[in-house]
Symmetry: C2
Subunit: 169 residues, 2 copies
DNA sequence: ATTTTATGTCAGCCTTGTTGACATTCCAAG
DNA sequence: CTTGGAATGTCAACAAGGCTGACATAAAAT
């Protein structure tokens, strides 16, 4: 079924953006995202958590000491929704919430040791899958993969995320 | 762009699979998927539907006359979950469910005219986003994108999907 | 002193996953 | 032919995790 292979894709590009090509891309995205989340989902289920907990753990780990508000922006959910998840993580001792030093209204969020342990377990599972895909596809394909994904993001959200990383060293 | 691939992987690619690279890929996947679903989500919300309805419409359109069971396999949800979505689509006159001719236990699913209309509206929005990303990244990047996604899918699920398409001409 | 901001919480709704129970239909073994 | 099991699909009830709205508190900003 392959459309001639990547060679054909180089030159003439009238076929390149057919609805059929785009549909294949859309379906690939759907199936790949499912594969992408499958392994962490299994681990999370063992602990009684869901994807929402994974996202929180990931970004708290990624940006130590981030505030609730920052997390809301990155995750794109309401505070009520995030709060529910965050509360269970704090209660279970995976996340530490400390009152801000400069602004005492803020809460700075940190992973505890057991929080780091779970985060590592989850991200290792996900990295393993990603690594296997990267290996199978090769470095040039990976570069293309990243380019397309970045073009597909909601620009505003992405810019906010970048700004966030820069603000806190 | 011959992904002469595995050859290059041997050599200059120790940096290529660092945890940092993989983490960036993981986050790109997260943000991109959100962008990928954002436009259809808005349209669906106007109609009082969710993503599950979109998925059902997409695959019914893709494989006219498919059965509930086939759809379950492709979508990877329980029949009860799919049934709820399917019921509303049938009630609203977007999907037509006909008793199977050869096996009367089965239901063959078809989009009605208004079902096709909504499906087209949704997929156009999604294709627009995908097309923009493809244009921005270029054909070589797209080839890589597809390669990585395909390597990332759950093999079993994907194989079932392919088998499905072949079974019904 | 007053207003605004950051956070947390309660209540209630919706979508979409889950499991369990059940009806219908088909098919194969007796 | 009948009967019991397997396949298919429907209905009911529950849980996770989105959402909105209302409100409380503490701290910062004006």
């Amino acid at each position: 079924m392959g459309q001639g292979g990547s060679g054909t894709l180089g030159g003439e590009n009238l076929l390149f953006l057919t609805d059929e090509q785009l549909r294949k891309g859309i379906e690939a995205m759907f199936f790949a995202y499912r594969g992408f989340t499958a392994d962490p989902d299994r681990i999370l289920a063992e602990h009684g958590y869901g994807r929402a907990h994974h996202r929180a753990l990931h970004f708290i780990n990624r940006t130590h000491g981030t505030t609730v508000n920052n997390l809301l922006t990155v995750l794109g959910v309401t505070k009520q929704s995030l709060n529910r998840v965050l509360r269970t993580l704090i209660e279970d001792g995976l996340v530490d919430s400390r009152i801000g030093r400069t602004d005492r209204r803020e809460r700075n969020l940190y992973l505890t040791e057991s929080g780091k342990t779970l985060e590592r377990k989850l991200s290792e599972a996900q990295r393993d899958r990603m690594r296997a895909a990267y290996r199978a596809a090769g470095p040039q394909a990976v570069a293309g993969f990243r380019q397309v994904l970045e073009a597909m993001m909601d620009d505003e959200i992405f810019r906010q995320y970048i700004a966030l990383k820069e603000r806190r060293t």
